[in-house]
């Protein structure tokens, strides 16, 4: 995680002023939301389908230890090796060791968020092993050394002219090119040479199926199939929650995943790998190495509230619908996981003290919760993070609040619990804030309140409280009635 809370605000401001970012954000999320909604009409009861998705994921988590053991047993039976990695360092060391033992000079990678989480590219390159991202969007962001902008299209915000420039600079093309399809073709040619002589491929996984020991990947480009089919050595990194019990469960979630991600009924390629190639097969990997990654997830698992985070299938539906993401895009989140997905996942992995900006940047509108195909209640989790940060929760490295903030909070609680005090404070605030108003909006306040106004504006409160207005209305109302009755007599 490279981004601090302060940088989050800075980068957000930059992105909100960036013409390209804003033009894309006007089109992309809404398009994907519409596609998703339309594709869910395939179900006669879309909500029931989502509830069933939630049930499968929740059920899988309930049986997680058992499913992991079954998966390991099946995978080993089929000829794969399984490595249990406690953290990023252990996983990276293991993968580097496999590469070194097999004299690997370069690898290709399928698009995978978990290897971003690991920082695997840096670990490999530090050991003189070249890494080629093979998803077109990832390929571009790798050349530009920029973070992913969106889960589906990591480089969608980059204008074609900039892509042409960087391709020229890196020798992917010889003359400037404006046609996206031709730029894509150039990458196809460049990477085909890599695939053809590939010795080791690394991918993530969408789901791991316990009953058969199979690994499932979904994609449209074919780069994952290439990274799995061409090399002698295949390495698959799966975070431990990726497991589902059966093929039937996987297929059910697959439908939800493809629809939620891009409004497709199915991605172009869905591949299932069960063990390495058989001896008599002419292509496919001779070795299949599976890395099962914890990296803090067992801690999340043990927490009864947070366990829900592990249901996530990384579809990105929450990202497209989020009003905050739709203003600032993917850069400010600063890690593999952006949008509400990142706001619930990253704090639990990295600790609350370092991720204040993530669970802070939320209006609790709940659109993400409604869009989620596996029933994650994002606002509940975000409120839980805020609460636990204020309480300096030890398991999540909560930072606690300053004595000043604490004093203010206690005072507020005391005032709110005593009506007479509330009335006095209310009346004096109504009077005291009036001079700070401009065009009926208050944007700054006197010393103890100045911090509060850093983040919020307040409409000018009416000069009388609701209670006193109500009383006045009642009095005049009954007077009117008396008057009317008197006239009738």
């Amino acid at each position: 995680m490279k981004i601090t809370p302060e940088q989050f605000r800075e980068i957000s401001a930059e992105e909100m002023a960036d013409k390209d970012t804003q033009s894309l954000l006007k089109r992309l999320p809404e398009t994907l939301v519409t596609l998703r909604k339309t594709s869910f009409n395939d179900y006669s009861d879309p909500d029931a389908a989502r509830r069933a998705g939630a049930g499968i994921r929740a059920g899988a988590l309930e049986k997680l230890p058992h499913l992991l053991e079954t998966f390991e047993k099946k995978a080993i039976e089929k000829g794969a090796t399984v490595f249990w990695a406690k953290d990023a360092q252990a996983a990276n060391q293991h993968i580097v060791r496999i590469a070194e033992e097999n004299n690997i000079s370069y690898i290709t990678k399928g698009k995978s968020m978990v290897t971003e989480e690991l920082g695997l590219n840096d670990a490999l390159m530090a050991n003189d092993i070249d890494v080629f991202e093979s998803d077109l969007g990832e390929f571009i962001t790798q050349l530009l050394e920029s973070p992913p902008f969106h889960i589906l299209g990591p480089a969608l915000n980059i204008p074609v002219a900039r892509i042409s420039d960087i391709f020229l600079q890196k020798g992917i093309i010889d003359t400037p090119e404006k046609d996206p399809a031709k730029l894509g073709l150039a990458v196809r040619r460049f990477l085909r040479a890599k695939f053809q002589h590939l010795q080791m491929g690394v991918t993530g996984v969408n789901m791991a199926i316990a009953e058969t020991g199979s690994l499932m990947n979904v994609e449209n480009e074919g780069n994952i199939r290439m990274s799995k089919s061409c090399p002698r050595i295949q390495v698959v990194v799966m975070s431990l929650e990726k497991i589902v019990p059966t093929i039937t469960d996987a297929l059910f979630l697959l439908r939800l995943l493809c629809r939620s991600a891009g409004g497709q009924d199915l991605g172009s390629y869905v591949s299932f790998d069960t063990g390495p190639k058989k001896q008599d097969e002419i292509d496919g990997p001779e070795q299949l190495h599976i890395v099962i990654l914890d990296n803090g997830r067992s801690r999340i698992y043990r927490d009864p509230v947070l366990r829900e985070v592990l249901r996530c299938i990384r579809c990105g539906a929450c990202i497209n619908i989020c009003p905050v993401y739709r203003k600032i895009g993917g850069y400010p989140y600063g890690w593999a996981y952006s949008g509400p997905m990142g706001q619930i996942l990253t704090p639990s992995l990295l600790g609350l003290d370092r991720t204040r900006h993530l669970y802070g940047a939320c209006t609790l509108c709940g659109k993400c919760k409604d869009a989620c195909p596996v029933g994650i209640d994002h606002p509940k989790l975000i409120l839980n993070y805020r609460h636990r940060n204020a309480l300096a929760d030890k398991t999540l490295n909560g930072a606690g609040v300053s004595w000043k903030q604490n004093a203010v909070d206690l005072a507020c609680a005391h005032i709110a619990a005593h009506p007479w005090l509330w009335n006095i404070v209310g009346a004096s605030l109504r009077k005291g804030l009036k001079p700070y108003a401009h065009e009926n909006v208050i944007r700054k306040g006197p010393a103890p309140l100045s911090d509060w106004f850093k983040y919020r504006d307040l409409p000018l409160p009416p000069s009388a409280s609701f209670h006193s207005q109500w009383d006045r209305m009642q009095t005049s109302h009954s007077a009117k009635i008396r008057q009317t009755k008197g006239l009738q007599k």
């Binding site: 049930g55 089929k78 053809q196 058989k278």
Partner: protein, 222 residues
């Protein structure tokens, strides 16, 4: 080191109280309508495949298979192809028909080494010729299970993939196809659902075909 963390992890995971109630999909209504409304498997398959930019050729009763292959090769300017040796393709006899007409088709059996096979797949073959284990009516997908007679790269590396699918191999759903393949002690090392050609829209949301895999997917229904 491996085992030690595995055991530590399991100790951490096991015995954690859980409180989720499991709701499993049981009724048809939680599946897409196509899952249970199978009007006609063949027409649904063709319609969906076409919607996914696949190209369907149907053998009309009067037409000779050889003529049909000829037509496909001509339509798409193919002169050199490599074929798998899977049972569906062998039983159709298409490779023989094509050869009789002088089309240049090599089969994967002709390659002794992985290296020469890979080289031919990447540099030589304009099209890959395979059978398909199943067609899925729900999505218009092909199901390919790889084995010694069916190499992975044939449907992946060349610019065009031609798949032969007998009509009676079209099933309603993904589940129906998987049930006939897994669980018999011979799970394929890799299985893939192919739904249309390789594609991307990663640059400025502009969609184009043939990113890493085939630019064209042609399905020959027999």
């Amino acid at each position: 080191m491996t085992t030690s963390y595995r055991d530590e992890l399991m100790r951490n995971l096991i015995g954690t109280p859980s409180k989720t109630s499991i709701m499993k999909p049981q009724d048809g209504f939680v599946y897409p309508k196509s899952w249970y409304e199978n009007t006609s498997l063949e027409s649904s398959f063709c319609e969906k495949l076409t919607a996914h930019s696949g190209i369907v050729y149907r053998q009309n009763p009067a037409e000779d298979l050889g003529d049909l292959i000829d037509r496909i090769f001509e339509d798409h300017g193919i002169s050199r192809a490599i074929a798998s040796c899977d049972t569906v393709l062998l039983e159709s006899g298409i490779v023989d028909y094509a050869r009789q007409r002088g089309l240049e088709i090599r089969t994967q059996e002709e390659f002794e080494h992985r290296r020469s096979f890979t080289e031919a797949m990447f540099d030589e073959a304009q099209a890959g010729f395979t059978g398909a284990n199943f067609g899925i009516a729900e999505t218009g997908s092909l199901v390919l299970a790889f084995n010694k007679a069916h190499a992975r790269l044939i449907s992946l590396a060349p610019a065009i993939h031609i798949a032969v699918l007998p009509k009676d191999r079209i099933v309603a759903t993904c589940e129906a196809a998987m049930k006939q393949i897994y669980g018999f002690g011979k799970d394929p090392s890799q299985l893939v659902f192919i739904t249309g050609p390789s594609s991307t829209a990663d640059i400025e949301m502009v969609f184009f075909k043939g990113m890493h895999g085939p630019r064209k997917l042609i399905v020959l229904l027999i």
